[in-house]
């Protein structure tokens, strides 16, 4: 089995043996993208550069993390929210929110051909060919709750969960449809895996009940529509109390931060695989290769199913630190 097959087998619930490393969130670094001449912000828009950037981390460090796009604004941009392109170091961000009433919001029929969605799908096709025997090609689709917050503003949506819950749920249904449409198009273009990233549905912002009511059903709706592909769910921050709900989303695996202990997660997630949780800032960005190696080994000892950064790899992470993560997986 090559590395790609081992990752896919693990996500399908098989036990290929040995340590498995896979980053289902964004894993590109400024240093690696510079080396392969695919810097931000161009590499968010140009399919060839997007594909080159996505493959660069594995090429230069041995960490499989061929995840695109590199931000959480793909859907929001396609739904009409104005975007700032970002810089060589920072991702694009949505700068203004739609002000229309929730009830007035409808999906544009052509949103799959808007913004960067065609470029991302083209990059998936390129990567499906170039990475075929190397690593899984992964598309990161933004979770329904997070798309809604990107489009309408997080505070507006969070407050509306209390004041107009039915209107919020209608929007979440539509945002789940966005995720399903992009996921299916990506499957058509040749992705191996799909991550739903729903960082605003964090336990730092929502209670377990609020998560269960406003985020989980819509994540589950997307997962139910893409059962033929191995999946991961990523949510930032403290997610321990939400894990009993996360367990029933239909995802194959859950990626979480170091705010939750691996042992606790393993217990709460049941059959859902645990992905994580090397500290992105403390270890990967600010630590030494020895720190990263130690934390990685600890994750495996604690029973992590797939080793990863607890959240997106910080863009200024050194290649040496990522190589230390790869070394931890290869050590056994």
């Amino acid at each position: 089995m090559n590395e790609k097959e081992r990752i896919l087998a693990t996500l399908r619930g098989q036990r290929p043996g040995g340590r498995v490393l896979w980053v289902p969130t964004v894993g590109v670094t400024v240093e690696a993208m510079k080396k392969v001449d695919a810097r931000w912000p161009e590499s968010h828009w140009d399919p060839k550069k997007l594909a080159r950037a996505a493959a660069s981390t594995y090429e230069l460090t041995g960490v499989p993390c061929c995840t695109i796009p590199f931000c959480l604004t793909l859907e929001g941009e396609a739904l009409g929210a104005p975007l700032d392109k970002g810089s060589e170091m920072t991702q694009p961000q949505i700068m203004e929110h739609l002000e229309m009433a929730f009830d007035e919001f409808e999906l544009p029929h052509d949103f799959l051909s808007r913004g960067r969605i065609p470029a991302v799908l083209e990059a998936v096709s390129l990567l499906a060919a170039s990475q075929r025997d190397i690593q899984p090609v992964n598309i990161k689709v933004t979770g329904p709750f997070t798309i809604a917050c990107a489009v309408f503003g997080a505070e507006r949506v969070l407050l509306a969960t209390m004041e107009e819950p039915d209107a919020v749920k209608r929007v979440m249904e539509l945002m789940a449809d966005v995720g399903i449409a992009i996921s299916r198009a990506a499957i058509g273009a040749g992705v191996d895996t799909i991550t739903i990233s729903d960082p605003v549905a964090s336990g730092d912002l929502l209670s377990p009940d609020q998560y269960a009511e406003f985020a989980r059903p819509y994540e589950a709706k997307v997962f139910a529509a893409i059962r033929d592909v191995p999946t991961a769910l990523h949510i930032c921050g403290y997610t321990k109390d939400n894990m009993p709900h996360i367990r029933t989303t239909g995802t194959a695996a859950f990626s979480f931060e170091e705010k939750v202990q691996v042992k606790d997660a393993k217990q709460l997630l049941g059959d859902v695989l645990a992905i994580g949780n090397v500290a992105p800032v403390r270890a990967l960005l600010n630590g030494s290769p020895a720190d990263v190696l130690r934390e990685s080994n600890q994750c495996f000892e604690d029973g992590i199913d797939l080793l990863s950064s607890g959240c997106a790899v910080p863009p200024l992470t050194t290649l040496e630190n990522l190589r230390a993560m790869a070394a931890s997986a290869k050590a056994h």
Partner: protein
Amino acid sequence: MNAPAMLNEREVILAGLADSVWKLDPAMATEFAQRAIAIGMDAYEAINDGLAKGMMVVSGKFDRREYFVPELLRAAKAMNTGIDLLRPYLKVDATTHKGTVVIATVKGDIHQIGKNLVALMLRTAGFTVHDLGVNCPAEKYLAKAREENADIIGMSALMTTTMLYMETVTQTLQQEGMRDRIRVMVGGAPVSEMFAKKVGADAYASHAAMAVEVAKELVAARVA
């Protein structure tokens, strides 16, 4: 007028104002703010001993994970509803001023929930807060701090790449000769105590309630 009954009415109103905030009820805040105005209650007292007390209860519930951000936003709405009604009756010199804070999310970063919570808690604790929003360049922090004679500049960032801008702000303060007069506090998910020192800030706070304590300490140290 019957004096004990009046006293009773004051207590009922203050309790009602506090309850309206932690019970997340803007309509109740309106009702009790109008009752406060009707009996001629000092507006500052109504805010400080009524609404703000309720927000302290909310803050405690948030720290104990009984309330989450949606509840906080709703509580803030109730409090602001009351304050907006009472504001015309405020005697400016009656406020006990804890200090002036200029706060914003740094340039390149548009995340605002954490920053807004800190601004809310600082206001509740009696600070005058000038919130410059998100994506704030160094010049804007400095201009506002100068204009308002601020005690503290507060900076927030949610991304590892945007938090680096905090150092640009502290360096600009230095260059402009303002660093000795203004304390700098920083926060945000990827920010740490160590990072705060590295970028030349005076203090770090990991959450909104801590930010209030840190701000009080910074102002006290500045006066002393």
